[in-house]
């Protein structure tokens, strides 16, 4: 049983907490640092930057990833950009504004001190990335360019075409490579963590499987860092990479780490709609497209006309109508829900009516007419010129859309629909990014800390790099200083042996079932169930239903799955089986968390808790009917779940969220 949850947020005024904390943090002298060994699991923005930075400081680092190279981590797919409170545009930005936007964007469910630190550090991240050679977009004068993103009214997003995540990851990856080359980091690609090892209450190592040879091995260390990303693939279809999984955090959870706010998932409003049951993943169209694209749905129900044939006055630019102040740049949760509302109302477009339009017609004409001598151009000429400009800005996204749908976004509006994208929940961590298990640190999307109930665009990259480059290197010393160097258990310690045996037993179990259904079939089934019952809208009824159906599915999995092949070679089915088995357990916790959080906030929308026409906030025009309705009195806290063993229900603890500076208010984007 876990006692009081202590976030270890330092005292003092908000804007000096981090500085003071760094000063008060324990230091380890350089000659001792090399005696400490740290394991970093995951090599995305958070993992790669942490592994590199820790190695730069002098720690011995081992880094693990399931991909064939650290550069493949899914951070690479982030398109739009990274926020930094540089105020290079002189448009009124500041650390405080980024902090405020993020707290408000997260619907007042994030820890204030963490978010403020994130905003402070955002400035250093940009500098660090520039120094590493990240080719951010530049203006003609050679200065850094910015663009705007959802949920904010300033331009603070730095970008590298539509491939910002790729460039930032390659920057962190290059640092990691430098340290691998220098022998300070040992890299283990195609290696999957299957168990966390705890010795005397402290995280002291992991058990991994070499995915090529199937060899199971143990690695012992003084601290373990999980930077393993989010769990969006519990829905099977998501914008995550196929390999993204919850296994590492889930193994940690089952060893006593708290899982925080698992029900907080982000549904991204502009993804390419599902086209069939064979579909294996969903593709995101960057939020940056909403800078210029306008979202609309036909006003008439079941309107089957071609988009071009629908006259202007029969189009409903619903975001501009509902949220005039932010318009198409409304935050993701709000834009997603608005799109769903149009479709639920029978006004969706495309196959099955699961889609709305994202239209560039007006932007193309505006750009075309905005060129020199463009003011008097005919519509066709302006369209041609504007297309060029839009190509330069978003070309790769339009190409991607074209490849997938065989339709041109320049000639007709793109069809988009919300899809699972990011998970705000994750392992619980304190201000030092350490979980309740001493020595276990969690970074990036894998932790819960900074985004509350909804993440703003261009903030995930910021958080991953903040955690890895700046925060963990400063805070890990606080823990390591409490453990003697060179005293870590050997990798043949009884706990390691036991963990290895557990892994082997599990593997043999998978291989011996020899059932009738493939792993993917179970995954698809779970995904569909989660999407229908615990997706964009949740009700007590749907969640209760999910909670009764998941265990049945899980039972069927363990008796009827077919995992061919052997354990001593590259075995794709075996890898997937392990991950899906964990999703089948995790999904239940997610539904339980969603059920227990009897309010709506950010991405967590409980239909029972929404604003209606009767509410004064709607009448005064602050929010729309259908917007989420928080319950600050009862739920202004982090829900932290403790594993209850195989038989007991998980225990729900809470960490109250105390707002010293920002006061939770109705979240208005009107």
């Amino acid at each position: 049983m876990i006692g009081r949850i202590d976030s270890k947020v330092p005292s003092g005024p908000l804007d000096s907490k981090w500085e003071n904390h760094k000063f008060e943090s324990k230091l380890i002298n350089p000659s001792n640092k090399r005696k400490y060994s740290v394991l970093v699991v995951g090599s995305g923005l958070a993992g790669a930057s942490a592994a590199a930075s820790l190695a730069e400081l002098g720690y011995q680092v081992k880094c693990f990833c399931y991909q064939d190279s650290p550069r493949r981590a899914h951070s690479i797919a982030a398109q739009g950009g990274i926020n930094g409170a540089k105020n290079y545009q002189g448009d009124g930005d500041s650390v405080h504004r980024l902090f405020y936007d993020t707290v408000k964007g997260g619907d007042f469910r994030a820890r204030e001190a963490n978010v403020h630190r994130l905003a402070e550090v955002s400035v250093d991240i940009i500098d660090q990335c520039v120094a590493l050679g990240v080719p951010f977009a530049r203006e003609y004068g050679g200065l850094l360019a910015n663009r705007s993103f959802g949920g904010t009214q300033v331009s603070r997003t730095f970008y590298a075409r539509g491939q910002t995540g790729q460039q930032l990851l390659l920057g962190a990856y290059s640092s990691l490579n430098r340290m691998i080359g220098a022998g300070s980091v040992q890299m283990f690609p195609r290696t999957e963590m299957l168990e966390l090892v705890i010795v005397d209450g402290h995280a002291k190592g992991i058990v991994v499987r070499d995915m090529v040879t199937g060899a199971i091995s143990s690695h012992s260390a003084d601290a373990v860092v999980l930077a393993t990303g989010g769990y969006g693939n519990v829905y099977y279809l998501s914008t995550n990479a196929k390999g993204c999984n919850v296994t590492a955090p889930w193994r940690a959870y089952k060893k006593g780490a708290l899982f925080a706010n698992p029900c907080f998932t982000q549904i991204h409003p502009t993804c390419i709609p599902v086209s069939g049951s064979y579909q294996s993943k969903l593709t995101l169209m960057s939020e940056s497209l909403r800078n210029d694209g306008r979202c609309w749905a036909p006003k008439k129900k079941s309107d089957t006309r071609k988009p071009g044939d629908i006259p202007e006055d029969e189009r409903d630019y619903y975001l501009e109508r509902m949220y005039p102040a932010f318009g198409n740049l409304a935050p993701r949760d709000i834009a997603s829900r608005a799109a769903k509302m149009q479709c639920d109302d029978g006004r969706g477009v495309g196959p099955g009516g699961f889609g709305v339009y994202l239209d560039f017609r007006d932007a193309i004409l505006r750009y075309g007419r905005g060129t020199i001598g463009g003011a008097n151009l005919s519509e066709t000429e302006a369209h041609a010129r504007g297309t060029e400009k839009v190509k330069a800005l978003y070309g790769n996204l339009f190409d991607m859309y074209h490849q997938i749908t065989a339709e041109s976004g320049y000639e007709q509006p793109m069809r988009v629909y919300p899809a699972v994208h990011y998970t705000m929940g994750g392992l619980w961590v304190d201000y030092n990014l350490m979980s309740n298990v001493p020595g276990l640190f969690v970074l990036g999307e894998a932790n819960f800390s900074d985004h509350g109930a909804n993440r703003l665009g261009a903030s995930a990259l910021m958080q991953g790099l903040a955690d890895g480059y700046f925060i963990l290197p400063a805070t890990i010393g606080n823990y390591l200083a409490t453990v003697a160097p060179d005293k870590r258990p050997k990798a043949d310690h009884a706990e390691f042996r036991a963990a290895e045996e557990a892994v082997n037993a599990r593997t043999q179990k998978f291989l011996s079932i020899k059932g009738k259904k493939t792993v993917d079939e179970f995954h698809r089934e779970l995904g569909l169930l989660m999407w229908d019952l615990c997706g964009m809208a949740r009700t007590e009824k749907s969640l209760t239903r999910a909670l009764s159906r998941i265990p049945t599915l899980r039972e069927e999995f363990w008796t009827n799955v077919n995992v061919p092949g052997s354990s001593d070679s590259l075995n794709v089915s075996l890898e997937k089986a392990g991950r899906v088995a964990d999703f089948l357990e995790f999904g239940e916790l997610m539904c339980l968390d969603a059920l227990e959080r009897r309010e709506s906030c950010g991405g967590h929308f409980r239909e029972e808790f929404q604003y209606t026409e009767k509410d004064p906030e709607v009448q005064s025009g602050k929010v729309c009917a259908g917007d989420v309705k928080r319950d600050d009195e009862n739920f202004c806290h982090v829900a932290c779940w403790e594993y209850g063993g195989t038989t007991l229900k998980p225990l729900r603890h809470t960490e109250p969220l105390i707002y010293e500076v920002v006061h939770p208010a109705v979240r208005s984007y009107r």
């Binding site: 981590a73 120094a131 080719p135 530049r138 075409r161 460039q167 290059s174 480059y469 077919n562 590259l570």
Partner: protein
Amino acid sequence: MNLKLKVWRQKDRNSEGRLVDITANSIPPEASFLEMLDIVNDELTRKGDEPIAFDHDCREGICGTCSLSINGIPHGPSETTTCQLYMRKFSDGDTIYIEPFRAKAFPVIRDLCVDRMAFERIQQAGGFITARAGSAQDGNAILVPKQNADLAMEAAACIGCGACVGACPNGSAMLFVGAKVTHLAELPQGQPERQRRVLSMVAQMDKEGFGNCSNYYECEAVCPAEIPATVIAKLNREYAVAGAKDTVGVE
């Protein structure tokens, strides 16, 4: 649509591989190439056979994991990567050869998966700028002319998939190495290590057993990130200058 596949199956690094005939039935034209393989794999698994192992991850053309050659061409007729290739590009009844990327430096580890660690070691040899976390000056203190930033970005867009090597009749990695060298040489931040970088990366590239460029330009034709072969010209120039300077001892 129904297709006849000829798929390379190989148990592991040390085994012999061969092409195996597999049929793919009722494939929707909207499915991606990898989804077609998913469907085939589901069938195989249901029959108790082992599914075809192929590398893939993001399935949106950016991670660079997918690594197979379709009818002798890396990423096949796709404009970008295999994962962004849709079955509508094929016709009912087609025979499709699916092989792993072929090059000595990319040993096959199973079926269609190859080991691209050689790329990693080249990067580790010098594909970076030394800048410790926390040591950087203000981002805007370094002015980068837009044209250089654009050129750097164009080269930096490389996704490291290795199609260039797979397509090159010589198994050369010069497009890959040229892209990284160009990216960093175009930026002011990359100048201090410019000479050292190109010398070490080329030395490692040679050590890994990649071939030499003889200007077929197959690499640029298959490159999903549209890296132009002019980065190889840039690599050659950088290397010639650095090598000459290094030989005579000029910094």
